[in-house]
Amino acid sequence: MTAYILRRLLATLPVMAVVAVFVFFLLRIAPGDPAAIIAGEDATREAIEAVRAKLGLDRPILEQFALWLWRLAQGDLGVSIFSNLPVTRLIGQRLEPTVALTLSTLLVAVALAIPIGVVAAWQVRKLADRLVMIFAVLGFAVPGFLAAYVLIYIFAVQLQWLPVQGYRPIAEGLWPFVEGLILPSVALGVTYMALIARITRASMLEVLSQDYIRTANSKGLATRRVLLLHALKNAAVPIVTVIGIGIALLISGVVITETVFNIPGLGRLTVDAVLKRDYPIVQGLILVFAAVKVLVNLVIDISYAFLDPRIRY
């Protein structure tokens, strides 16, 4: 087990190395003169040269790369072109809203989607199942911002139950904090829920056709007991996989959702950096998001061993 975890841990290194090399060389192989593009349309010659020097583009490429890697290894993601603040500090300041949004979405999505999927599998080909499948198909088609605006229109503009946008840190009280997260979490979670519900249904259907389920049913166990204890437990591996894969969806979705709801998190930071062409911030965010994704995959791989003792490595 320990050997397996170590091996998986080591396997993440080449992936992260590729990501690091990729974002580093992206700036260097970009067509045209990135320094001129970053400096803006009517930048003076000096301004362009200043950006070039700031990005280190005026030095030999291998020297740049070595220096960049050395700093990266020490947790230094560089300095913002416009604010001159370290990228790590900017990311740190914006971390709370994004973590709160992602976790609440994860919670809402898993808590709703798994029961929905279980019911669909139990009621297969009946009305409940049809409705779940329609939701699943629509969930994949509805873009995050449309879901967000429809929710805002109904619950904030028409009914006025929830705030239209904005974020209150948890320090300002639990209800304002939760109130501000409800609509963004549901909007961000729609596709994710569709994904989890669909896999839960499929995985449950497969398990429910097994002999031991028939045995459990025929010896008179309560339906709920069979569904939850016997079936769901054995259907868990694909569900957990998809919950993990879906984290990538959430990371991409955060950028949109935070923009719609005006939440000052990492997503807003990304968009602001892109609009100002502040490449060091974009680069740092890509590294952080990719690391989160790789880490989540690692956790999923390791969780298999706990969920299904038959899986041996």
Partner: protein
């Protein structure tokens, strides 16, 4: 057995055209639904210049008009006709979706076959693909766009790069799975080599999963383009793409929700149509996958 198949075949040939269509629709309701929806949207997109007024024409006297007989979908803050803009936006979305699917399909197919064939290159290419896949696609596209001047071609390239690894994975796994098959060995033993082997035995096998994957990439491409334009990092703002229309309506959402909801619904319908085709084709072409979903 032979007699029976001949009978049905003969019967089928005699069926009138309408009845044959009816059978096809009954057998593949998902593909049919997707195809009809998509056909309607594509015709609207193609006919947009004849069906609508100029999508760029401003008329401040008509600003923020709600949907009416004169302005079917209402107008935006510059008095531009949302019906015209939405239909023209369909062109942008469909062009991006199809181009992204085609380009990433071709690049992915080539790389996938190379990886499946040459074990030495495989390791390196797949590590690079893993790395690209670790970056959330919208972020990767955003990063690429930060470094270049805005334009439709840049947006397409920026969406293609993160999608390519998905195709490579599918194609590679097909090539690997047929490598050791007896019919491949016997074809090689019979003297079929190189390009002929590729064209006759490898490509046909990759086709079904490739088409299915391409439909999903087409849908993803349209969603990402809209998201990028919505964020202000997509096609230039003067092009009426759905993402741009929505982005420009943001500040007026509370008083003029139609500027956002209508193009948004069109985007969802287009993605839905393409996804339905994809789901239907997957069930039809690849029964093994169908059972899993």
């Amino acid at each position: 057995m032979v007699a029976i198949t001949d009978d049905t075949a003969a019967e089928r040939a005699e069926l009138p055209v309408m009845a044959r269509w009816a059978t096809a629709i009954r057998r593949n309701p998902t593909i049919a639904a997707g195809a009809v929806l998509l056909a309607v949207l594509v015709s609207l997109a193609i006919l947009a210049p004849w069906l609508t007024v100029d999508p760029l024409k401003q008329a401040t006297i008509n600003r923020l008009r709600p949907p009416s007989e004169r302005f079917w979908f209402g107008t935006d803050q510059f008095g531009r006709d949302i019906f015209a803009r939405t239909l023209h936006g369909a062109r942008v979305s469909l062009i991006v979706g199809l181009t992204v699917a085609a380009i990433s399909g071709v690049i992915g197919l080539a790389l996938g076959i190379v990886c499946g064939y040459f074990r030495r290159i495989d390791g390196i290419v797949m590590r690079i693909m893993d790395g690209i896949m670790a970056i959330p696609s919208i972020l990767l596209a955003i990063a690429l766009i930060t470094l270049t001047r805005p334009g439709l071609a840049v947006v397409i390239i920026a969406i293609v790069i993160p999608e390519v690894p998905r195709v490579v994975r599918v194609v590679r796994s097909v090539v690997l799975s047929i490598r050791g098959q007896p019919y491949i060995d016997s074809a090689i033993a019979g003297g079929t080599r190189g390009f002929k082997l590729l064209a006759r035995h490898v490509l046909p096998n990759t086709l079904a999963p490739l088409i299915v994957q391409a439909t999903y990439i087409c849908a993803a491409g349209m969603l990402i383009e809209a998201a990028l334009s919505f964020l202000g990092a997509g096609v230039p703002p003067e092009i009426p793409s759905w993402g741009n229309i929505i982005a420009q309506g943001r500040n007026f959402f509370q008083i003029a929700p139609w500027t956002i909801l209508i193009p948004g619904v069109f985007l969802a319908l287009t993605v839905l149509a393409v996804n339905l085709m994809g789901d239907g084709l997957r069930d039809r072409l690849d029964p093994r996958l169908a059972r899993r979903m």
